[in-house]
């Protein structure tokens, strides 16, 4: 995509490599990302252990957007950092386009950190106030071995891609931009590395709604034009529904449900997913919410409950839920809940629609 627009002149191999995404080696059916058994714990000073990510597995197909939702503290950002290898997992594997990351004969962390790029929430904190936008965007390519001229071309090209006229914006500083424009720069900076995967961690959450809509449109355009794959993390369930093909629901370091976006929103199977959806404002002043689906705040990932971690807030928890941890079932729409597993011994497990009558939750 990028290289066609750039004038050809003599370039180093590193530059040639930077101007296009790394090649697709696995073919269209190979998931771009396979995550298996990912664990990251943090030891605190007092000896307690934060089980931030505690055995997470999923796949992301090429060209799709996987939405990730869950309350704050459930491990979304930690997982994003593991996907980028900005932190090293305690256990588990990442396979990028068929190549295991960090293993011999697999993919180097360095290559991963080019092929995957991350865009954060806080557009202010993530831009160096003393660098022009061109310098900011050119920084990554320069560090990856591009000469000044090619890095500059990349900066201008990507500024154009995100809708900031290069002639106007290349020389500007972050403080001269609005919040929406700064977030465009962050996206441009990620694109300058010709990534295949973008990890968007609350990337639109700090923006005003009218600006958020601009950025969401931009992200949709870029995904198509550049054949990108997205992991889109957000606490806004309506935005996740809008952008995602599939959705992963996290609770205290675990995946509790994952599936196609329609299934998750129209036929959620985990009581937590149902509660999350029913916590959204109604958007209709004549049909206001009459009760809160959950009480209290999310519990701490230090010493999480035994068995199912959600059981302490769950309306249909049973004795089995405290004893045995429910496993994420196989299949395209997978849920980790005893009530959805006929073999679990949960009293509601035999029922066709186990939650509709009992969860006390209407979405």
């Amino acid at each position: 995509m990028l290289q066609r627009a750039l004038p050809s002149r003599s370039r180093t191999p590193a530059e040639e490599a930077l101007l296009a995404p790394m090649p697709d080696v696995g073919g269209p059916r190979q998931p771009l990302l396979i995550v298996d058994g990912l664990v990251k714990h943090f030891a605190l000073e007092d000896g307690a252990v934060v089980r931030a990510v505690d055995g997470v597995g999923f796949r992301v197909a090429k060209g799709e957007t996987l939405g990730v939702v869950g309350e704050s503290g459930c491990g979304k950002s930690t997982m994003a950092r593991l996907l980028m290898q900005l932190a090293r997992q305690d256990a588990g594997t990442l396979v990028f386009d068929g190549l295991e990351v960090g293993s011999r004969g697999g993919m180097s962390v360095r290559d991963l950190q080019r092929s995957a790029q991350m865009v954060f929430q806080d557009s202010h904190a993530s831009l160096n106030p003393r660098l022009t936008l061109e310098q900011t965007i050119a920084f990554g390519p320069r560090a990856a071995g591009a000469g000044r001229a090619v890095a500059r071309e990349l900066a201008h090209e990507t500024l154009g891609l995100v809708g900031l006229a290069p002639l106007v914006f290349a020389g500007r500083y972050p403080h001269e931009l609005s919040g929406g424009q700064r977030q465009r720069v962050n996206i441009a900076r990620a694109l300058a590395m010709s990534p295949r995967l973008l990890i968007l961690d609350e990337s639109v959450s700090a923006l005003d709604k009218s600006i958020e809509a601009q950025i969401l449109n931009l992200l949709q355009d870029l995904r198509e034009r550049l054949a990108l794959t997205y992991v889109f993390i957000s606490h806004d369930l309506n935005v996740v529904r809008y952008v995602s093909d599939r959705v992963l629901v996290m609770y205290l370091g675990k995946v509790v449900e994952i599936g196609p976006v329609r299934d998750i929103y129209d036929a959620p199977r985990h009581p937590y997913t149902r509660a999350l959806l029913a916590s959204r404002p109604s958007m209709d002043p004549r049909r206001r919410r009459e009760h809160a689906p959950l009480s209290g705040d999310p519990p701490s990932p230090i010493d999480p409950p035994s068995g199912c971690r959600f059981r302490t807030r769950c309306a249909i928890a049973d004795a089995v839920c405290a004893r045995i941890e429910p496993m994420l079932a196989q299949g395209p729409h997978a849920v980790a809940c005893h009530a959805a597993d006929p073999a679990s011994g949960h009293p509601l497990a035999g029922e066709a629609a186990p939650f509709a009558a009992h969860a006390g939750v209407v979405s």
Binding site: D208, Q214, Q220, Y265, P285
Partner: protein, 334 residues
């Protein structure tokens, strides 16, 4: 109709900027009766917080306020500092997005509430403590007696928010100002706090001014809505009128850019551009440069807040020329 408890007219705030004075509020007018919730809706920087702070004269020292603020018959802008201190907390109480701004980290929750009750009502310590317990129970803090002994940092975000609400209610205010009190909370906790505020509002009959940038939150709690843009109210009316039949192109654009399930598979229609610098407002209607309907007339003068109905007002020079509002929020179900 009962007499409004809060009457604000032509409220202006000017601050000293680097290159001379900057007008933050350009004459804000609204009124609110007891027992009602007015949501002030708008994007960041539109002047929502400044409006609330100006009501209580909690503005930067460099700022000058003019206009008229009548709260329960008290002319707030004419009060002396000492009288002002007395009505803050007793007649009018405030809650914020960040409980840290209201709660003192060095005292227990119980002590802070009791202290406030004592200071304002001259109650004995024993009575004040009892009232603190009642208040924590009122805001539905579980194990309230134990939580009286907790320091703010020992509470979860949702409980801290409840403790701040208890503190705000401690002197039975007639007016509650809530500035984005649920913005930092998870949706699962936000809905709990909104339901609580709705219930307290019903029970205590306060007038509540509720600032939010979130249309969904306004749908849940507002009786009336005022939409702000660049330091002016550009539309106000009942919740149904403003969120259901918005008249101002900005309000319509804002509602249209809220992503809801109906929009899946469609391209979003954002408002182009970004809000103006307050130090360099365009002439006439501040929204004109971003407005698809703008014509020359829009830049000639700032339009008046014109009446669409007895309660619905819109500040648009082309009001009546635009096609009727397409209902937004009310058509959207989850």
């Amino acid at each position: 109709m009962s007499k409004p408890l809060v009457q604000v007219s032509d409220l202006r705030v000017v601050v000293r900027g680097a290159d001379g004075p900057v007008t933050i509020l350009h004459g804000v007018d609204f009124s609110l009766e007891a027992g009602k919730v007015l949501c002030v809706l708008g994007e960041s920087g539109s002047g929502k917080s400044m409006t609330m702070r100006a009501l209580m004269r909690l503005v930067p020292r460099s700022a000058t306020i003019s206009g008229r603020v009548l709260i329960d018959g008290v002319d707030v802008l004419a009060l002396r500092e000492r009288e002002l201190a007395r009505i803050r907390g007793s007649l009018v109480a405030m809650i914020f997005q960040e409980p840290a701004t209201a709660l003192d980290p060095t005292f227990t929750i119980g002590h802070q509430i009791a202290e406030t009750v004592r200071a304002h009502e001259g109650a004995s310590w024993a009575d004040a403590r009892r009232r603190a317990l009642d208040l924590l129970e009122l805001v539905q803090v579980p194990s309230a007696a134990r939580r009286l002994q907790a320091y703010p940092h020992e509470l979860s975000g949702g409980l801290r928010q409840r403790a701040m609400i208890a503190l705000a209610l401690s002197c039975r205010p007639k007016v509650l100002i809530a500035d984005e009190p649920t913005t930092a909370l998870d949706a699962t906790v936000q809905i709990q706090v909104l339901l609580l505020l709705r219930e307290l509002q019903r029970e205590l009959g306060m007038a509540t001014l509720f600032v939010t940038h979130d249309v969904g939150v306004a749908c849940e709690i507002a009786d009336e809505v005022a939409v702000m843009y660049a330091g002016r109210i550009v539309e106000r009316g009942s919740t149904e009128e403003v969120l259901g039949r918005a008249g101002h192109p900005y309000a319509r654009g804002l509602l249209r850019s809220v992503v809801t399930s109906d929009l899946v598979g469609t391209r979003l229609v954002p408002i182009d551009g970004s809000p103006p610098e307050l130090s360099a407002l365009p002439p006439g209607c501040s929204f004109a440069p971003r407005c698809n309907h703008a014509i020359e007339r829009c830049s000639a003068a700032v339009p008046e807040l014109a009446a669409l109905s007895a309660s619905h007002r819109v500040r648009c020079a082309r009001l009546g020329e635009l096609e009727p509002a397409i209902p937004h929020a009310q058509e959207v179900s989850t």
